[in-house]
Symmetry: C2
Subunit: 338 residues, 2 copies
């Protein structure tokens, strides 16, 4: 099944805002051969996620920007097909920052992880058992610190992180209110992910619908969007509220700095806390969070949704599509039979 | 020395923004006589503080607004002059919410506190040993969580809270950078309160001067102002920064909500935390914080500055003056010989 060549998606130019298809190009190179201590991974799944916009941005960020002409940085999952390290035999399922390409040449020391949950689909290593699930788990439980009976509001609630946050909130005894764009995503929140209420931010009645869904106030706001959605949520904070800043999907550009209603008085009067985090800061957290999430998956207490794009030719437009709101579920690119 | 009448400052009308002299009127009433379980306090000192603006506001707040026609709520310190409670004998020094008036009739159960630090001036019970000092102590130490070597930036640094924050920061091994309005307050920060650097936000070079003073980045921002001052500080956050929201002195009105640069990306990229607090929520914290501050005062490790207005006739304009930046030091109104 493997092609004799390695198709790679390179960053062709630096985007100002959201990376579009034209910022990438696909090249064909020879399949790499491992040197000493190296392995080659045949990628089965490539991940597409909102954070990738930041990875190509020249603006100060939590990681070095992807260089022009380099393979686009991404998480991927696949199997080792060649190895010069006996600790990583051929056939091992692995996940890591293998990039948008068919084959990744990796120093064994920098492999992300061996995929332990081989009873579950490999694609979950990029979603609910990958960055998305661990992000949801850390942000909600460590920063949000939910208590039973509290109301948790989640923006991009139908997305890979948001849907997981809502379900974990309910597992912890909270009421989950989802905010999503359009009737299909709103219904997904309610019917597939079991949110107690869901509100469509694109609908004309968003502000009153949110007020009704949050009649008892908001104890935790898990924010993936910033912008007008957050402005609406901030008016409903309960005393002692926690706002978890996970992403800023609604803001097309931070140059010049976008304006919005000041938050200081909300934070002061409601004794509220607003906190950002980057899940890469907490490597020790990933394995135990994955173990708990895997348990919920096996017990059918947690579900997830994937949107599969077949073929690497879909990669260049895939990030832009996320920001257009095209997708339903965790966006993945499939490169090989699974 | 006591007048035969009780002069009281009443709230005459509800301000939209900052309360001005015209929002108050002074009346003369009989000196009260205590009923069962009551005491009468002769106020020696009345407090004037920025938070009083919120106490008269009809906008949702952390306390019920002062009613029109009621004595203006304020902290005061004085001595018991009549008592029907043997636990509170005549002559006891007390501090509490006794209001802007010569004499306060108080249920013994609602007295704020007996002033224990009788070796120190009674006026300190309203400032460095009162709400201001405890606010500085709690906000910096509990929310800011300073570590030696960190840089702490403080807005309204020459004020009653800010000057205390800067000095405690230095006692904890931090570098203190003050932001204050005008050369006199800037010099006060440097020469009287020992800040490592001080910047004048009214000066034309504020933004570059702040950048120079914060060349190593900002670990803690103790914010009393919000507004343009905060916007400038936010661009210098270090990873893991803590922003303590104590007040919003620079914002004249919150209706309609003032706009400013969105903070979400700063919080996300810098993994920063922004948190508001109200010191009244933490009654158990006051006595131990006061004890530590009193120790610093006795050891000459902490200093404070007071601005004394002699006579209750200064009260109506006193809050507006704070917001005009008229004062140097903790603003107090003296009603009796001390």
């Amino acid at each position: 099944m493997s092609p004799p060549i390695n198709r790679q998606v390179l960053l062709a130019s630096r985007p100002e805002g959201i990376p579009q298809a034209a910022h990438f190009r696909i090249v064909e190179t020879p399949v790499p051969v491992p040197g000493p201590g190296q392995i080659v991974v045949r990628n089965t799944w490539l991940s597409v996620e909102p954070a990738m916009r930041g990875w190509v941005s020249a603006v100060a960020n939590y990681s070095e920007p992807v260089a022009i002409g380099a393979v686009m940085r991404s998480f991927a999952a696949g199997y080792i097909v060649a190895s010069n390290d006996p600790a990583w035999p051929v056939g091992t399922a692995v996940a890591g920052l293998f990039g948008w390409q068919d084959y990744a040449l990796v120093d064994a020391a920098t492999i992300g992880r061996r995929v332990e949950e081989t009873d579950l689909p490999l694609s979950t290593a990029l979603g609910v058992l990958g960055l998305n699930g661990v992000t949801a788990h850390y942000g909600l439980l460590q920063l949000g610190q939910p208590r039973p009976g509290e109301t948790v509001v989640i923006s991009t609630a139908a997305g890979a992180v948001g849907s997981c946050v809502g379900q974990i909130a309910r597992l912890k005894g909270c009421r989950a209110v989802g905010i999503a764009g359009g009737p299909a995503k709103r219904e997904l929140c309610r019917n597939s992910f079991g949110f107690d209420a869901a509100v469509d931010y694109k609908a004309g009645d968003f502000v009153p619908a949110l007020a009704e869904a949050c009649a008892g106030g908001v104890d935790i706001y898990f924010d993936n969007t910033a912008g007008a959605i957050s402005d609406a949520v901030m008016t409903h904070l309960n005393p002692g509220a926690r706002i978890v800043i996970c992403g800023t999907a609604s803001v097309a550009s931070w140059v010049p700095p976008p304006q919005g209603p000041r938050v200081e008085r909300h934070l002061l009067v409601k004794r509220a806390r607003m906190q950002g985090f980057v899940i890469f800061d907490h490597p020790e957290y990933h394995a135990p969070a994955r173990a708990e999430i895997a348990g919920w998956l096996r017990d059918d207490e947690l579900t997830y949704l994937e949107e599969v794009l077949d073929g690497i030719e879909h990669a260049p437009d895939a990030i832009a599509g996320l920001y257009r709101g095209d997708n339903l579920g965790k966006r993945l690119i499939r490169l090989a039979e699974t």
